[in-house]
Symmetry: C2
Subunit: 215 residues, 2 copies
């Protein structure tokens, strides 16, 4: 049975998954790049970026799980890029260069239709205008029995959580304040939605928790 | 110079300092009592309750700091008790029995005047109807050069944070979800208010952080 998973979504102590005012230069909003201070040094992140080395241990163990058994991704449009409103042209191809770190189909939620983009390395960006359930149906079919991973951002995760469609979500809490931005959990009653904290492994760099939906 | 400190204020992963629906039987609201699972086993908590033993280590180190150098406390009315609106009589004398664990003057914020209550062991409850600044002035005078500690709850801390009157705040993040209740930080831009995370010490039971206001 294909599961719906979230990995490595990082929030600040005050609960924000990104800072305010995302631009092409600040994909995680103002101050948001420091969220990933736990992730950048890991071997997993360094490998994604073609580098040798990197730290091993708990942070890297969590970081690396996002690669295991995932057949398709879903992400919100703002995770795909900084463009807002109707697409002015087809020039934006994601933040990740010619060979993005997905290597499977990626379904991008948007209100504006966009042609499919084939990248190097197996990543294909499909654009879904029919909402979160249509995206999940298409991603599940494309995953061919493997799991579907929801990448983010916060608004996308909130929609899937509210619909109780996420089975398991790894969140890293980074020891910093953002003050404003995209809040992950405020106003979502995760307890009433059936979620509980099933794993809690703190490190010097972040507090890792896994929230799991009861069946 | 007298400082304004907060200690041992505990929030859930989703940021709540108490669950919903506080009553006499559930001082921390529904589900809120589990917030303190990191605190209850410590030697500090056990001593407060007249017991020997208890755990030592990081959790206890943080727990015990609330006793150091504090000359007066401030708390919100809901931390003092479950009574709402005008006081029906003077029978409620706090949650803590005859000898509360404060042993110094405690200033309770309320909209409704109430006579002072002298307890055993040096705790005196004063009731302040003039707002947070009046409470802080009176507490600072009563502390006679020692520090003032703001106990909580969330609504009281939010008011003092927004006014930039807290110098240092220890928050423990407990690995559980509350889903709803009293949110500590949502909508407060702590970063813009000048706060930063200056200490981050996670344990198996909680993630301890200290937020400090820049001068």
């Amino acid at each position: 049975m294909s599961r719906v998973r979230v990995h490595n979504f990082t929030i600040s102590l005050d609960g924000y998954g990104a800072g305010p005012r995302q631009t092409r230069e600040t994909p995680l909003g103002v101050g948001g790049e420091s969220l990933h201070n736990w992730f950048i040094p890991t071997r997993t992140f360094q490998r994604i970026n073609g580098n040798a080395g990197g730290t091993t241990g708990v942070d890297d163990d969590f970081a690396g799980r996002y690669l295991e058994g995932v057949g398709a991704y879903i992400m919100g449009r703002n995770m795909f890029g900084p463009v807002r409103g109707p697409w002015p042209d087809d020039s934006w191809r994601g933040w990740w260069g010619k060979n993005p770190p997905y290597h499977v189909p990626v379904f991008v939620l948007t209100h504006h239709a966009h042609p499919t983009i084939e990248m190097e390395g197996g990543t294909v960006f499909h654009f879904v205008t029919g909402g979160i359930r249509e995206a999940l149906e298409r991603a599940t079919a494309a995953a061919e029995g493997k799991d579907v991973q929801i990448g983010g951002g916060a608004a996308t995760l909130r929609q899937y959580l509210e619909a109780r469609l996420i089975d398991e979500m790894h969140v890293a809490i980074s020891p910093m304040l953002l003050g404003s931005g995209e809040h992950l959990l405020y106003g979502l009653d995760l307890k009433a939605l059936g979620y509980e904290c099933t794993t809690h492994v703190p490190t010097a760099a972040a507090t890792h928790v896994v929230l799991t939906r009861r069946q």
